[in-house]
């Protein structure tokens, strides 16, 4: 069972309080974009996911906690969370993820 850091509660809580909510940063086309999208483009938005082996940007919902949806970077191979961040903030860059990973390792080494 994971310990997940909720960026709204700013606390690590047990996984039992959370639900997984799919890949992050998939933006819903707005009312102007939708009518001009081809069926193929629309299906790409609807169904096609990266299914990354490695560090994956995904959404979690703190449903038995503060009720907020947030984003996370989690490694799908090691099942380790690299970082979590609030909904609406931009996709994390490779560099930001590197820094977070190194900080985690440094924190771990301290204990």
């Amino acid at each position: 069972m994971f310990e997940i850091h909720c960026p709204y509660c700013n606390e690590k809580r047990a996984e039992i309080e959370f639900s997984y909510a799919g890949e992050a940063h998939i933006v819903r086309p707005n009312a102007k974009q939708q009518p001009v999208m081809s069926d193929e483009d629309w299906s790409r938005y609807m169904f096609i996911r990266d299914n990354i082996r490695g560090e994956h940007a995904e959404r979690w919902w703190h449903n038995a906690g503060c009720n907020m949806f947030f984003n996370a970077i989690r490694n799908t191979v090691t099942d380790k969370f690299v970082m979590t961040y609030k909904m609406g903030s931009p996709r994390r860059t490779a560099k930001q993820i590197d820094v977070a990973r190194e900080t985690n390792t440094a924190d771990k080494a301290k204990t």
Binding site: D39, W61, M68, T78, D79
Partner: protein, 990 residues
């Protein structure tokens, strides 16, 4: 003293005799014995029959790795525990153990004919057995396999015992209480921070318990253990847990420990806790699980009396039991010599040591010479003799071709050691192949965890102690050197198949003893094309038995890698998964048993329904009144009566389970416009509207009546089962796609009790109790809502109807629900008020053609398909599902449409789910047009009615179709799905 008990050996308490039974016969052992050690002390090696071939089996090991000696412990009805390892079950006075998988008894087993026909059970026999004809599947093959492949008997009654569960935390969790674990605990204890040390055995000490001649720093190992335990028990920050198995290692150092509390206690009372599941979150984990000796794979290696050398050593060292009078040792590793020496020193004759290697270290040959033991090098055992116990074995020297048969009553084997990486593997720790010890060792950690001692390849007691001490220290600290009198741990060789003059096909060389997988099976699997070790495992079932391949995985891997022609490190190890050893359902369930297993939600009116004879049905987590039978009525009669009473006069229904969500805020209407297909901006305050919700894929997701309480407030209702997912769906969009909208969502399902009153007398019933609301049809038309009071209690009163009759849904705060219900029941007597349940509700709505989401729709139905295009706004620029509804596929011709069906014979009630065809005589497979979604007997109409999804249904009105059912195909006419009062006049009863 039993025949095979050696005076002065072992740490069992010979002053405390204990009687127990095995297969009805009484045996005596001592306190500290296991069932296995006590049986062996009586000279009884036969303890079980194998899984597939029913071959007689004795113990292979002396601990939790045991694959053969599985027994059932019978403590009375509902308290039979099958598949307990005789090697770990402590004896207690009155223990009643039974062998398994034999009939009529262990010595004469009818099932053993499988052994003679073993040619029928090759690798993949499960897959290969299910051959045509189909009629043989459930009549012949399945019963046969089930009978044959029995482990223990399944319990026939509820388990009356109590199982506890708890959560815990610690700084350091140490798993394994052998030398490495104890040294780690001693070092970790000094930090003052919480430490938990667990061991699956009754006593701490691990391998030190089985090798009593070992001295640590000049003192007997037993003294070192005693001193260590004294320190640890005194330390307030240390918790010692014995008889506790770490069964699974999960993310972020979350470890499940199962403590067996009364498994060793005579007459354990019902009501006392039998096991406790501890869920521990540890800052760091030290794994000191040790290593398990590997069997050698040779012809006849499974006869009772053939066992691991270390097991024989343990039976002698810990239990004072000789596993025989004359033993042969067969090895590819040095450690077996120490086992042979231990036995020889206890006056057990060692007939010979057969070593597959041509070179043996001098100190070992000297030790053997001193004890008069003959060593035969470059030799193997090619055959064993004896049925229920080994009698002799044949030694084969491939270089010369010499074969020698020698007598023995025990055969001790050693193929080297396998570090126990089970929990490390659960934690996703990396592993690397170590060619020197021919085993996988821990590599990079994935969690804050470390392996120490034999499981890390730190073989030998001094090495284990040092490694444990180092790991236990909080920060660095110095190394601690331990001096012991142990012999060098030595080395061994990898066994890439032992030579034999006998044809492989005629050998019975077992790899997985519990699942009866032989060397031949693994080779056959590779030959048949299974190259990946994961496939070989599944095809042969090697390592898939309850022992999880503790003694077989490495041997299987070696055989497979040779057969595939790839080095072992390229073949890879199969993944270990929890649990480490079999775990009872009781431990996993804990307190969440019976009514606590899954929560049952009940409305405030539920106690009334129960008191008034309702039959209930589960709907999502709710239990709902299904129907209210009167004396002598069956379901059909009760539902017919309830339907008629409601249509004729007055029905009352508990609708409290309907999901309710309060949507509030300045942008509430905008949000509703996006979440539902209908338009909401123009809905006036006090107005209601049927709302239809899609997912983004355009298919119907949920529905319900929505009332506008105020400009900025909607009272949304959802289906009973859909409430949680609709709430999540709304929150998700609000927080992530429409965060600019100023809206708040609150789940209010539990806040309101909802009573639906339907029938011509509905208004007359409630009128006397309502204050502040003008109920006249002019002031309060259909699909409006009003706030006021009923019986002096605040109410949100909806004039809506799910039956087609004049109807009201009265919402009052939950705790007033029952009082209001009882008041209305009393007042309703004059109208012969009839309480009805969900079945009548379903029939009444079907008579009107109202859909039930999830029954008439299945996640691939659009609003148009369901005949509800009217509910989809054409003007809105956006709503969830809008773009998908424009997809070519969803606008194409030939989609299935929701229609009504009337059977030609009005008495036939179609089966829900039945298929619909144009011509019932067409060849199979028929072209199926759709299926029946709802079907009922309609009492008011005096005939059956049905709803169905039918291809191109809207264009088939009045067409005759056919519905094949088990006896015959029935003719049906396609109609509009409104059977009762199509003009809706009944709504307007004054």
């Amino acid at each position: 003293m039993s025949a095979f008990r050696k005076a002065g050996r072992g740490i069992v308490d010979s002053a405390k005799a204990i009687n127990f039974t095995f297969d009805g016969k009484t045996y005596q052992g001592f306190e500290g014995d296991t069932v296995a050690s006590a049986l062996l002390a009586s000279g009884n090696h036969l303890m079980g029959r194998s899984f597939k071939y029913h071959r007689p089996r004795g113990v292979l090991g002396a601990g939790s790795e045991e694959p053969n000696a599985l027994i059932a412990i019978d403590r009375g009805t509902g308290r039979v525990t099958p598949n307990v390892r005789a090697t770990t079950q402590e004896i207690y006075e009155g223990l009643n153990a039974e062998s398994q998988n034999r009939s009529p008894n262990l010595k004469f087993d009818m099932g053993a004919f499988n052994n003679a026909f073993s040619i029928f059970f090759p690798a993949g026999f499960y897959n290969k057995t299910f051959l045509w004809p189909k009629s043989f599947w459930d009549k012949v093959y399945e019963p046969f396999i089930r009978n044959m492949a029995g482990l223990g008997p399944a319990p026939t009654a509820d388990d009356p015992d109590v199982y506890a569960s708890s959560y815990g935390h610690c700084e350091t969790l140490i798993i394994g209480g052998g030398p490495a674990g104890l040294a780690a605990a001693l070092a970790a204890a000094k930090s003052g921070e919480p430490v938990i040390l667990v061991d699956e055995n009754p006593q701490l000490g691990g391998s030190l318990l089985t090798t009593p001649t070992i001295e640590i720093n000049g003192k007997p190992a037993r003294d070192w253990i005693a001193k260590s335990l004294k320190i640890l028990s005194k330390a307030e920050n240390v918790t010692l847990m014995t008889r506790t198995t770490a069964t699974g290692y999960y993310h972020d150092n979350f470890v499940a420990l199962v403590e067996r509390i009364t498994h060793h206690v005579p007459n354990a009372k019902i009501g006392k806790v039998r096991e406790e599941l501890h869920r521990i979150r540890a800052k760091r984990v030290i794994l000191a699980q040790g290593a398990i000796e590997r069997p050698l794979v040779f012809n006849g290696n499974d006869r009772p009396g053939v066992m691991l050398a270390s097991a024989a050593q343990a039976y002698l060292g810990q239990y004072g039991v000789a596993v025989g009078n004359e033993a042969v040792v067969f090895t590819s590793h040095d450690t077996a010599y120490q086992a042979a020496f231990d036995l020889a020193d206890a006056n057990i004759r060692i007939a010979a040591i057969i070593d597959v290697r041509d070179e043996v270290q001098n100190d070992l040959t000297e030790g053997a010479t001193q004890r008069g033991i003959k060593i035969i090098r470059s030799a193997v055992i090619s055959k064993t003799f004896g049925t229920l116990r080994i009698k002799a074995c044949e030694i084969y020297e491939p270089e010369t071709g010499i074969k020698t048969k020698i007598r023995c009553d025990a055969l001790l084997m050693s193929g080297g050691w396998t570090p126990s990486l089970h929990l490390w593997s659960h934690s996703k720790g990396g592993i690397k192949w170590d060619a020197d010890i021919a085993a996988y060792l821990p590599d990079v950690a994935n969690e804050n965890a470390v392996c120490v001692g034999a499981c890390n390849g730190d073989f030998g007691i001094a090495a284990a102690l040092s490694a444990g001490h180092k790991a236990g220290q909080k920060t660095g600290g110095g190394r601690k050197v331990y001096k012991t009198n142990e012999a060098d741990f030595g080395t061994g060789v990898v066994n890439n198949g032992l030579p034999n003059y006998i044809d492989t096909a005629k050998q019975k060389a077992f790899v997985d003893f519990q699942n009866d997988v032989t060397e031949k099976d693994i080779k056959l699997a590779v030959l048949e094309g299974f190259k990946s070790i994961e496939h070989v495992k599944r095809y042969t079932t090697n390592g898939m038995a309850t022992d999880q391949g503790k003694t077989s995985n490495l041997n299987a891997l070696e055989i497979a890698s040779k057969a595939v022609g790839k080095p072992i490190e390229k073949v890879g190890l199969t993944t270990f998964r929890p649990p480490y050893t079999p775990t009872t359902f009781g431990a996993l369930t804990g307190y969440r048993d019976a009514e606590l297993f899954d929560p049952t939600r009940k409305t405030s009116i539920d106690p009334w329904a129960e008191a008034n004879g309702a039959v209930f049905e589960p709907v999502a987590h709710w239990r709902r009144a299904w129907y209210f039978p009167k004396a002598g009525e069956d379901m059909h009669a009760a539902v017919s009566r309830e339907c008629k009473a409601t249509r004729d006069s007055l029905g009352i229904f508990d609708a409290s389970t309907l999901g309710k969500i309060e949507v509030v805020g300045p942008d509430a209407a905008k949000f509703m416009n996006l979440m539902y297909t209908n338009p909401w901006s123009a809905l006036p305050v006090g107005g209601c509207r049927y709302g239809l919700m899609c997912r983004e894929d355009g298919y119907i997701y949920d529905d319900g009546v929505v009332g506008r309480m105020a400009e900025d407030r909607f009272h949304v209702t959802t289906t009973t089962g859909g409430a949680p997912r609709v709430y999540r769906h709304m929150e998700d969009y609000l927080q992530t796609e429409f965060p600019h909208l100023d809206v708040w969502l609150t789940s209010t399902t539990e806040q309101w009790a909802t009573i639906a009153i339907n029938g011509p007398n509905a208004r007359k019933l409630i009128e006397p109790f309502v204050e502040g609301i003008d109920l006249s049809p002019e002031a309060f038309p259909h699909m409006k809502l009003r706030e006021g009071k009923i019986c002096g209690v605040p109410t949100r009163l909806f004039r809506v109807s799910f039956t087609g009759e004049l109807g009201f849904e009265i919402n009052v705060p939950s705790h007033y629900g029952r009082a209001l219900w009882e008041t209305l029941m009393e007042a309703g007597k004059q109208y012969e008020i009839c309480p009805y349940g969900t079945e009548t509700m379903h029939v009444l709505r079907a008579e009107k053609g109202f859909i039930i989401v999830g029954q008439d729709t299945d996640g691939t139905v659009t609003a148009h398909d369901a005949g509800m295009s009217w509910a989809v706004s054409k003007k809105k620029k956006d709503f969830v599902g809008k773009r998908s509804l424009a997809r070519t596929d969803l606008t194409a011709n030939g989609r299935k449409h929701l229609v009504g069906l009337l059977t030609e014979d009005p008495n036939i009630v179609l089966e829900e789910g039945a298929q619909i065809v144009t011509d019932p005589n067409q060849p199979i497979p028929m072209d199926m047009l759709g299926h029946v979604t709802s079907s009922y007997w309609s009492e008011p109409l005096g005939r059956s009615i049905a709803m169905a999804m039918v291809r191109d249904g809207f264009n088939r009105m009045d067409e005759t179709l056919h519905v094949p059912m088990p006896n015959m195909a029935h003719k049906v006419k396609v109609v509009k799905p409104v059977f009762y009062d199509p003009k809706g006049e009944k709504l307007n009863v004054v």
